[in-house]
Symmetry: C2
Subunit: 156 residues, 2 copies
């Protein structure tokens, strides 16, 4: 044993797993940064836009509905809604049928923000995913879909 290292980098072949992993990781980090700057400077963040868009479509919702839809922890939803409420984009009203629950809905400002950020989102998606042709887009959906199915299995 010439090296005091427990894992010698030489022993790890640069497998193609590494490449897949780092490509996907890089993509997310970059996409996150780019889209977030793009959207935040022009209105609300991507995370907030997702929530607003969902509330626009699905009407008044409870906190747990949002947590289920997006796979968030309860804390995440409370905090996100706190922020949106602070900025006057959503409202929490008592649920008439269940005194534990609150119904979350958009204010007029919230509807405007949702519409504006949806436009930006579409523009961004076109700029980004437009570099792939239709066949490539179908293929990437298929491949990432396989990974997602596997992950769902690992998550159990």
């Amino acid at each position: 044993m010439a090296s005091p290292l427990i894992v010698d980098p030489q022993d790890i072949p640069p497998s193609d797993y590494e490449q897949v992993s780092s490509a996907l990781r890089d993509f997310y980090a970059r996409a996150h940064r780019v889209v977030d700057r793009m959207m935040t400077t022009r209105g609300v963040s991507f995370a907030r836009a997702k929530l607003l868009m969902h509330i626009v479509r699905e009407g008044p919702l409870r906190s747990t509905d949002l947590a289920d839809t997006f796979g968030y922890a309860p804390r995440t939803v409370t905090e996100a809604i706190d922020g949106l409420e602070r900025d006057g984009l959503v409202r929490r009203d008592p649920d008439p049928d269940d005194r534990r629950a609150k119904r979350i809905s958009l204010t007029p400002d919230g509807e405007k923000a949702a519409a504006a950020s949806e436009a930006i989102r579409l523009e961004y998606m076109q700029a980004l995913f437009g570099v792939l042709d239709a066949g490539e887009r179908a293929e990437i959906v298929r491949l990432v879909g396989k990974l997602n199915d596997r992950l769902a299995g690992l998550e159990l």
Copy 2:
């Protein structure tokens, strides 16, 4: 105008852009959750493991080196190193050649942690990316690579 909504969901065709976008987004959210639980319960988080592995390989490094390598903001690195130092996994020593800088290196405990988490990381990658065959892995690297190049352009 029957609807008071500014953007009518009906007007947005469910384009395949949406599918690409949501597949990639889902992948990241799930992967992040799964790998983080997997690694944190058995030692250090994925984010920390990446740093440790890099420091193992590249020897003593400065804060800016890490920021450049991973594309992190300076704050991110300082905070990450703070945490690792608090847990006794890294050490900050003054750089003899530049009194502004510090050289970050692993402690013996840090080397152990790096080796342990590398093992878990390999196991995880195999479990996940093993669902794709070699051709599919090459293809996904190519496609995501195109997206990354585009993102790099958008980020300028």
